[in-house]
Amino acid sequence: MMIFTTIVLMGLGSYAMRAVFILLLSNHTFPPLALKALEYVGPAVMAALVMTMLLSPEGGHAPRVYEWAGLATAAVVALLTRNHIYVLVLAMGVYWGLGYLM
């Protein structure tokens, strides 16, 4: 029962963190500085998230060469083609290919 209560509280916490600004700021005009900062949230979070996924949750694990190569391929292909299917196929191809060779 203790565990279930914890899970329910954590569920409320998870929801609260996702909802807080959406619900509290629903009737507020954003000051210009906040709107500027907002534009950078997407790129900053996505970049940090990509890096987090390469690192093990316990820390300490440095990404391998074929992981860097796969990510670089994804970035270049996205820049040149803007097509996510090409990104997926080519980057995973490099990742698997180099991983197989090494």
Partner: protein, 230 residues
């Protein structure tokens, strides 16, 4: 109006298909969660109940694993909250686009605001209000159904995860693609590279807290670069 209804199904379908591409590489992660529940020694229904209640993969794994290892409830909950704290940024980022949405959607949308839904929808904020909502709902519901199903499957088939072909790397690959296509100025490119660098340097910080510092540092850098532009 026939035009409106066809458009509705169009964005709903796109949201579903875009989410499906991100669902497939997340399958091993969902199965790993099932395995974590079994290894924790908790009743499996209890562990799985965190899927509909929390709907937050990394935070769920952190909580269940630490509880299973005998950590105190307070310690496990704190670690899981830190892991989930990046959602504060998602909420902030989505606040302006949600202002134009109906109230029921503003209350429902946060429940589905997982990494993948954020990644897909952050670049769609210029869509017309209803199209954005249909896209978001389709992506969110697709991901929700996937997570409920495969975390349950993982409770039973956990130990037989195929190790041969590593598809989980497709998630950072697709996120990288979404990141690059969302960048429309050199300032954003600099901020993205900087945020990656800081996350890398802070890799050893507990419970992914390095990510939070990296994002905050990135936002500050972005504002400084904005000043320079003028």
């Amino acid at each position: 109006m026939p035009e409106a209804s066809s458009l509705k199904s169009h964005y709903g379908r796109r949201g579903f298909l875009d989410a499906l591409v991100l669902v497939i590489p997340a399958i091993p992660f969902a199965l790993v969660f099932g395995l974590a529940v079994r290894e924790s020694g908790l009743a499996i229904w209890l562990g799985w109940s965190s899927s509909p209640i929390m709907f937050s993969g990394a935070a769920q794994i952190t909580l269940i694993t630490l509880l299973g290892e005998g950590a105190s409830v307070a310690a496990a909950a704190t670690a899981a909250l830190v892991v989930g704290a990046r959602h504060l940024f998602y909420s902030f980022s989505m606040a302006p686009v949600m202002q134009r949405q109906p109230v029921w959607f503003r209350w429902l949308a946060p429940y589905m605001l997982v990494d993948q839904v954020f990644a897909l929808c952050v670049g769609k904020q210029n869509l017309p209000t209803a199209d954005f909502r249909h896209y978001y709902l389709a992506a969110g519901i697709t991901f929700w159904m996937f997570w409920m199903t495969f975390t349950a499957v993982g409770l039973f088939v956990g130990p037989v995860i195929p190790a041969g072909l590593d598809i989980t790397f497709a998630t950072p690959v697709l996120f990288m693609g979404l990141l690059v296509t969302a960048i429309d100025s050199w300032q954003k490119a600099v901020v993205a590279v900087f945020a990656m660098l800081v996350t890398f340097i802070l890799a050893d910080m507990p419970s992914r807290s390095g990510l939070l510092i990296a994002v905050l540092a990135g936002l500050i850098l972005g504002l400084v670069l904005e000043r320079l532009r003028k």
